[in-house]
């Protein structure tokens, strides 16, 4: 009776995951969807706690201590993290999930090799799979965290011919797994330990050649890896909710990864090999010699903005690092009060993750209706008086359209130069993540306003107020 009730709870939990994810797909229901999935997870955990195993010692104290500790760490970091550091946070949480799968798989393997538990070849394969996917996800996520946090620079971990090293690791992993499957339990626990070390190193090496700008794609991919390792662990324990949850995440991570690659007009393989990596590709034909970008004073910029009919902001990662989302909203309010039509053009990969910029602007109370996606914005630029580019670079680079030698050639960009005037707020003339110069800065219509995004915006706010 109790058992069937608990099995029903698992079914309920699995259903909440599916419905929760479905609701997360729409802005109006997203928050409830997240809450629903969390509720389902709670039900599943409680059901697992009281599930009547025969002769189980239970050891509840250990579990409760672990849950309280993990829960406190998770809750505390979630409350404390800055909105700009969200991608790193997701990455590190993801890595911990992978580490959990590694621990489970290792314990399973150690008891298998100690002769305490028998696994047929199929089951052994699943355990090895959980171990290797979890391990790659764990160290890969840690390195992605390090890169996003600025702790690790691309050039510190990139070796010449790195893709060959990774191919070597892949072959070595497949070879070792095959070897372990053939050997069975006779080889002893050393086999599992070697595989764990190999795949931990592989995870690190896997992410190493991938440039900082591509980290969102990698995190998304690693997220789906963690889901797969959870699903593999679910197969080990014959637990349906682990299987369903893991596979759902595996599928969602895969879809997101593909969507992000599409937004950058690149193949996943191209990203993984590290097209933007620290290696520095062929120099772009648009390379700049002695061209001079024209500057605009804050006063002039403020006057232009205040007396225009329509303004389009193009926020980029520079806005996020400068924490300038509130400042841009304040400027927006001042301009709107004077009858200026203000909108925002959001490139799919602006910021560090798709949707990252939307989250930041939502934090500053910018209404949805003002946020335009790539195609909507490109249709409107020609009718826009002034485009203000705030801390964005590669996503407004015309080389993507007209310079086949450029590493970002073919990537869809915001065609801001179609507007009547462009003002670029930027700290310096330095290049973006793609490491290439931007011809937009030397365009006739463009004026530069140098300085930190937040300080420049605040200066503009001050100027507009004094008009």
């Amino acid at each position: 009776m109790l058992t069937s009730f608990l099995n029903l709870s698992y079914l309920l939990g699995a259903l909440t995951f599916v419905i929760g994810l479905r609701r997360l797909s729409s802005p109006d229901t997203a928050r409830r969807g997240n809450g629903l999935a969390a509720l389902g997870m709670g039900i599943a955990i409680i059901a697992t706690m009281v599930y009547p195993f025969t002769d189980a010692p239970n050891n509840y104290l250990w579990i409760v201590v672990g849950m309280l500790l993990g829960g406190a760490i998770g809750w505390w970091s979630a409350q404390k993290v800055q909105m700009t550091a969200m991608p790193q946070m997701v990455s590190i949480f993801n890595g911990l999930g992978g580490a959990c799968a590694v621990v489970l798989a290792m314990l399973e393997l150690l008891s298998f090799y100690a002769g305490e538990r028998s696994l047929d070849t199929g089951a052994l394969f699943i355990v090895l799979l959980a171990l290797l996917i979890g391990a790659v996800s764990f160290t890969g996520s840690l390195l992605a965290f390090g890169k996003l946090q600025g702790l690790v620079k691309d050039k510190h971990v990139y070796l010449p011919g790195h893709q060959w090293i990774n191919i070597f690791f892949l072959i070595a992993t497949i070879g070792l797994v095959t070897f372990l499957l053939v050997q069975g339990s006779s080889i002893g626990s050393i086999g599992a330990i070697v595989l764990m070390i190999l795949t931990l190193v592989y995870g690190f090496s896997f992410v190493a050649p991938i440039g900082g700008a591509d980290m969102p794609v990698v995190i998304s991919l690693l997220n789906s890896f963690t889901g797969l390792s959870a699903a593999a662990a679910g197969l080990i324990y014959g637990n349906q909710i682990m299987l369903v949850g893991g596979i759902l995440v595996g599928a969602s991570g895969t879809i997101l990864t593909v969507l992000m690659c599409q937004a950058m007009n690149r193949s996943l393989l191209n990203v993984l090999i590290g097209g933007f990596g620290g290696g520095g590709g062929a120099p772009s034909k648009g390379a700049v010699g002695d061209q001079v970008a024209k500057e605009v004073t804050r006063n002039d910029a403020a006057i232009q903005l205040f007396y225009s009919n329509s303004v389009m902001f193009v926020p980029g990662y520079g806005l996020a690092v400068a924490q300038a989302q509130k400042a841009i909203k304040e400027l927006d309010d001042l301009l709107s009060a004077n009858g200026v039509e203000v909108r925002y053009a959001i490139h799919p990969v602006a910021g560090r993750m798709p949707g990252h910029m939307n989250v930041l602007l939502a934090e500053a109370d910018v209404p949805y209706a003002q946020l335009l996606d790539l195609d909507e914005a490109n249709d409107l630029f020609a009718n826009t008086d002034i485009v203000v580019v705030v801390g964005a670079n590669d996503v407004v680079n015309p080389a993507a359209l007209d310079d086949p030698g450029s590493p970002i050639y073919g990537m869809p960009v915001l065609q801001v130069w179609e507007a009547k005037n462009v003002i670029v707020l930027k700290r310096s003339m330095s290049t973006g993540y793609a490491g290439i110069q931007n011809q937009l800065f030397f365009h006739d219509k463009n004026r530069m306003l140098f300085g930190d995004a937040k300080k420049s915006l605040q200066a503009l706010i001050g100027e507009v107020k004094s008009l």
């Binding site: 599916v18 997240n34 050891n59 979630a78 993801n94 959990c100 939502a362």
Partner: protein
């Protein structure tokens, strides 16, 4: 080969579940506005913490004097729980800001 077929026979229902869930996962998620990509990734990431269930089962079935398994299992619970609680909380924080729209 025989081992693989054997495994297939023994786990037929699980394999059905696996395949249908993959298709369901693609279908459920394939129509998401890009605004919601980051929260979706974060929410999905929290769900991947479901691996904690395995750690709980492991500890409950371990011998009370098997400190090796208990210790590592508890480590697994800590890791999984951080992923679950942190993941859902962070997602909620992101979505909370979306709600304030007027």
């Amino acid at each position: 080969m025989e081992a693989i077929l054997q495994f297939f026979d023994n786990n037929l229902l699980l394999i059905y579940l696996l395949l249908f869930t993959i298709i369901l996962g693609f279908e459920v998620i394939s129509k998401v506005p890009s605004v919601l990509h980051t929260p979706l990734m974060s929410g999905a990431n929290a769900i991947s913490g479901v691996v904690i269930i395995g750690a709980i089962i492991l500890i409950r079935q371990a011998a009370p004097d098997d400190y090796w398994t208990l210790g590592l299992g508890t480590l697994g619970v800590v890791l999984g729980m951080t992923n679950v609680v942190g993941g859902f909380a962070v997602t909620d924080r992101m979505l909370e800001m979306f709600k304030k729209k007027k």
